[in-house]
Amino acid sequence: MNNSKSNNHADFYGFLAQSFRYPEQAWLGEPYFDLLDSIVQNLDLDNDTLGLRQTYCANQEGLEILQIEYTRLFINATPSVIAPPYSSVYLDQEGNLYGPSAVWVRRFYQQNGFELAGDADIPDHLALELEFIALLIDEHQEEVAEQFLNEHFRRWFPLFRARVLSGSTNKFYSTLLTLVDFFTREEP
């Protein structure tokens, strides 16, 4: 496996990490949708990415819809927030943030030479975990990435995904959840 190819792989995870950050005009431009289209086409998914581009790319109204949906799904909502994107909420009995699984995640980051950039950050946000995988792959630490996926990520992501899908019909997030699943699922 050559260097450039490996970096390539890392970038897909970086792309997914970005996708679960708060939707902003700045990153939801044509290049983002070009890549999304391209990945979806290569995977032969029947998801309608053209529709997504039309709705959300450089479209103030569409962007606002996506922002409201992100807030409702992942931040604060009435009735309740649909699916907080943190592993603790799914893995730790108390359903709080920063439970034992988040502590485990932070220690795993540290053991592999990474520390969170802000001192009070919650370690187990979906976007952070995906970015961590990207960093590992970028450093050719595929086995460690696999260990992280196996011991942690795959235990909560399906629960999270199910909660989003049962609480939302938004195509953008359902497509991205499909992609995250594809890039993180266990393969024989």
Binding site: F12, E64, N76, S80, V103, L116, A127, E131
Partner: protein, 751 residues
Amino acid sequence: MAFQMTRRSFLQASASAALTTALSGWLVSGAQAKSGFVRKPFTAPGSFGDTTTVSGSFCEMCFWRCQLVGKLRDGKLVKLEGNPKSVDNGVSICARGNAGVKLLYDQDRLKYPLKNVGKRGAPVWKRISWDEALDECASRLQGVIKNNGAQGIAMFPHGCSATYPMHYFEHVVGTPNVSEASFFQCRGPRDMAYLNTLGVQADESVDMPNAKAILLVGTHIGENIHVSHVKQYLKGLENGAKLIVIDPRFSSSASKADIWVQIKPGTDTAFLLAIMNYLVKKGAYDKAYVQKNGEGFDKFTKAIAHADLDWAAKICDVPAAQIKEVADLLAKNAPHVSIHPGRHVTWYGNDFQRERALACLTGLLGAIGVKGGFVKGKGPKLANVSWPNIAGEHAEEFALHKKAEKHVFSPPGTPTQMLRDAAISNKPYPINACIAWGQNPIQTIPGQQDTIKMLQKMDFVMVVDVMPTDITMYADILLPELSYLERYDYFVKSGVQWNLNDKHQQYIAPRTPLVSSLSADHQRKDSVWITNELAKRMGHAEHIPAATTEELLDKVLAGGNISLAQIKKENGIHLQPGSDPYGVSYPVKFFNDELADAGYPGVPNYTPVPEPPKGFARLVYGRVPVHTFNRSQNNVWLNAEMPENPIWLNHETAHKLGLKSGDRVNLVNQDGVISATTSILKVTQGIRKDTIFTAHGYGTKNPAMTNAANKGIDDQALITKPAVDPETGAHGMRTSFVRIMKDGKVLNIPV
């Protein structure tokens, strides 16, 4: 979904021209977020897992403000403990204090400024930037000021963090329409009654550790937990103090009492008048103290001369002999008796008079400035730093109760009932903006439907809070505040050692963050920052008293000749020598001219309260040790301890109705309001037949409180006919009558 290809084959094919182009196109677009990680070599932690102790801060799970230390592991707060340097709570904190950790990491906490793009009451939230949020708040508030004047803004503040913005809105913006639940739905009548009887604040200034007898009227210490206060109470009992508890319910205090008076609710003042009349007639009072410090004693004795033991016995539904027994016990142990002023006293709308009676009884027994009596510790001096009062006169001119010449003895602010009535009716002037800051008026103010009506008619509603409480559903703009564990505060906790008989010490304990306020995970801010930013946008930049909370705090501390940096070095608490608090005397206005001149009874009097209609019992409410009302309901640990509020029902009544402990029931009030939720029944001998009790603060309706929503019964929703205390304008909230509903069937309470 079945994928056509494996990840491996995809990645192998990912060199495909189209994909490579798309990927590099995305990469060069530079639209990726800043990395959330930095590189750092790993060093294995020691056997304590790198646990560090951070000293400072004080608890805000309730208002008692116990001093804390935090145990941190790797940036995560893992435990809270009492600060070993504390001379107040010491190393102890209560269950709620411990559970503060779970507030910090509550998944439902507010994180970003939100704009309601739906409706009030049925919000749809959009995350917005602080600039956008503050710009909108400022322009909408200014719009209301332009059309209606500053008095067109109503504010409902609560807690340490709300003081600074409250001063801003009162003194700089110039609205009188600020209504604090801590006064008008809690201790206002007590504070005003003591000020107008003994000339000083009541607080809970009774020297219980050194008392020979303690009188509690409705106060249920033990269920109502404030650490140093409980320590004082228990020390007193340990030292042999006799305990008298007046309560319709067998409270935890009643269970420790030497005399438990199972009084009929609403009649406490009659009980107190009879005791005083008996003591006066018998000459069993502190004649020397009364002679020297009493005012209007003759008028007083005349006015209460009718209150004999039999009169009170009939009203209070207790034996005359028991009233006498209480009076004799107090007289025997005077002056070393603690007549507890209570704290939450807004019960029946005649509460000012009851509190006056308690203060008079204290004076009559000479229980002032002596061991075991009413004694105020002498705390340290601090500077008074806040917004300049540039618009106070304007505010004064528009104060509703002053315009109407009502509630002359109102605590600071505007009586809530008047404020809400004015806002709904636009009379005498329109009030079109509402700010809730750390208070949940939906559950603090009785008459929920009116509160909602008021919110719906506003031009603008702004809410600042930590958790998504009920009121947040009505916000147009919702701002997230840092919790007490992440911020500095303007308010400084100070006082003296918990037992006045110990070595005299004063302490100063500012709030300092135990964990960092910065995180990529949220954008919460403290109230000083929020208020200053708002003030800049509203044209008041020149009046800002300090740029940051730290700077403001340092100015406050400078008044005590100490700095924040120094206190941090001293592990969060500064101690200095104190002085002897005993030997002080206060005048006692047995008859108060100002009250009489204003048309109120100059001598404490008893006004009967409405009786329960046939088939109903009176609903009374109180505290439980693991909750502080609404604010702790969503906390996972506390919720697990006590998710619901049991409904106390007399055992004979229950037997007649065929009910048993554990039954799920609704409550239905005299106006036909049915509790939205059910709770469990507690059948007990420990409550009168004419009374039903439950804990206050349950049954929040906001589903965003995922642990607490719809658990237990919201007693406030059943208080549809609050009374209003004539002197103070505070609410009376034990004014509802209820029946029980089981399986959809409403059951009459037998007499």
